[in-house]
Amino acid sequence: MGLVHGLCLALLAAALALLPTLPLNDFHLQILFTIGVNYLAAAGLNVLVGYAGQKSLGHAGLFAVGAYTAAIASVEWGLSPWLSLLLACGLGAVFGLVIALPSVRVSGPSLAMVTIGFGIVVEKIVTEWTDIFKGQAGLYGISAPSIAGRAFTNLHWVWFIGVLCILTHLMLRSLLRGRYGRAFLAVQMAEPAAQSVGISVSRYKTLAFVVSAVTCALAGAVVAQQNQYFNSDFITFNLSIFFLVVVIFGGSGSIYGPLLGSVVLTLLDAWLARWPALQHFSYGALLLFSLYLMPNGLAGALSSLFRGRPTLFDPSQADAGVSVLAARPPAGDGNALLVVSDLHKAYGGIVPVNRVGFTVSEGKVHALIGPNGAGKTTLLNLLSGHVAPDGGSIRFLGQELAGQPAHRVASLGIARTFQNLKLFGDLSALDNVLLGAHRHVGASFPAALLGLPAGRRAEARARADALALLADLGLGERAFEPARSLPYGLQRRLEIARALASRPKLLLLDEPAAGLNPQETHELGDVIKRIQAAGVTVLLIEHHMDLVMGISQHVLVLDYGALIAEGAPDAIRKNPRVVAAYLGADDDAATVAESVA
């Protein structure tokens, strides 16, 4: 892939260099320039829409920020064009932050509304506030960059935007192929799971907004400079939609989608310009039909035609890393790791967790049992921070967790799995585990963006460790397969691997044996024993009594929201309250329980 990518870039550079030898007129050059502009805007928007999963219908506003910054900096303040471009990117970032603030708090149609609102406010401000923005009359005489005193010709503009596009592409590619790209996708695919590995959903959404804002502002600034004129007619709701269409039609979530989208749509637009009525029709038809003909856009449709060779697992890669399970810490001394007291949660008339208190001791395997609907999963959600309690306290290593967000709880060292699997289904098993290790991949944002060696080294190390862990759990051969294509039993195991990769002190397992066959359940027992041996304290919810009794040292029984018993497995088995709750308190059942006992 790296080779092909380099080759393609070289070809592109060669094509750009050979432009003067081609019989191109200014109209053709203008089309090439427009492709570049649309690519710039779409490439960043793709990070937001395709990776972080936030559909924005207001990016024309950010395009305006860039264009007007470049225009005003040049016309009013007399700044150099190069400085204006930088300033445009900077202000773009600031406005990206501004739009992210309300946006990360809402989702779905409300998010659409916030972004539309932002776009319209900007549109109205630049139209109405004529003292500064000159409205429809526009700003004239915006100075354009020049090199060695020579003003850019149309050809130079194409070269210039070509260079900008290639640099943007390289940076975004580097960013998206590492921990940041993974984290964006994780946020889009399963927020609770992303939080459970310590990813702050709002932080990553904000980051995606900022990235998209910068490239969009840059596109706007370049347009203003090339035109040397900019007015409020550029900024419309339709422009916002157009950017979104470029991303989605091209293939959102693919690095090459925005490229395909901007090339095809710009050319189509130019070709159809002769028949304006048709142009609008085709635009509507494209929106309506391309989505069900190509749900993943052009990039998706093309990649399903040319499926590359699957990456094969090479055991030597795993040998270079260290599996989390290989740790051999001194045995836990049974100190209290987690102290829960008076924990309470009610939903209307139903109280799944009713003033519960217990202690989890270091190094032991704890089982939480109880009939279905007894409140076990809610209790687990309270512990992991996915649900906020109505009252009570959860102290972990002396810190209060009650009311803390899930990603913070995760970063303190509590990992979890989910009863209804929440894997990142489209990502490979390896990427799922790498996401588990997210906090431990030490690549900073600039290092990831610029592809610095430090970032690459951190990524390579994390990858080797993740492969080692996968191999350790018997998933090595499947490391490069998408998580959703694994058999169910292995998906369950992969979720445990992901949780372990975050190197937790306490691991919460929510019905890890659900849906497993007896053989798989048996293997799960062994895995849990190995987790314990690696120094990780475990709290599991489970129904399989054989499993619970075989591996746990301490059993908690929850019934109807209340803790009705706790103790060693043997004592619990004989506890009459537990028998009654678990087997049903009916007279028939009582007889059965007696006859069985």
Partner: protein, 305 residues
Amino acid sequence: MTAILQALASGLALGAIYGLIALGFNITYATTKTFNFGQGAFLVPGSLVGISLLLLAAGKPHWGNLAPSEMTLLSYALATLASVAIVGAIGVVLYYCAIKPFVGAGGLNWVLSTIGFGIILQNAALAVWGPASIAVPSPLGNEVWRIAGAGIRPQEVLIAVVAISVMVGLDLVLRKTRFGKALRAVAFNPQAAAIVGINVEKIVIIAFVISSSLAGLAGMLIAPITTASVFIGLGVALKAFSAAIVGGLTSPRGCMLGGFLLGIIEALVGLWRAEMREITIFLLIIIVLVLRPGGLMGARSVEKI
């Protein structure tokens, strides 16, 4: 003071229009978690079909100007019914083309597909009626009525009366009738609705018909105020969308409240500085959403883990 009264009256009428369209958003959103983002385009046939019918009835070509004498309350009412029926039928097409393939698939592809459908509809209207606007007389005459010193246009009164009656009627239907209860059941949980024997898809299609009809009605009501043209829809529908979001997309009464709120704020801000209307409204919306992401009367959604 009279200026404020006057602004309140036109705000109320405008708000009633927003409320009608917003109610349409609510009904389809409740049942399918989708709504027509291209609803603005549905106002266009709403008004133009009705006007053309009136023109044809008066023996003129489908595009032209209607004399006030050719517009009676009865002919207006009949034309409105006809265009409501036609736009309702377009709603069925919308459902099959732009909603059904994407509903339940997650993501927001339905946003783009409905926008695409709207663009096609708008351009079809452009091909039939052209870009120029048609001035439409009000069936109640264009003479301004003086009420407590304030000049109120009769069409504003008509809008308020019709829109509020339709809203109250729909509210009753949703709360009291078998159909309304079935629709609310589908909204609450489609699978639970299916297992008691409700044909969920049928209810959903009816929801889209109602939603589209409301947009058609709004188009016909507003035409004497804004004139009828291919381009009136977008701005109105966008405000109606804002009204739905601010009031709470999940609450029918919230949507109506949002409509009136928005209309009145818009009219009052317009008194102060006309050019600040949109800026104020959309900034306000963003603030409301930050404080109450589900809207003023909407429910907060909780994801089950």
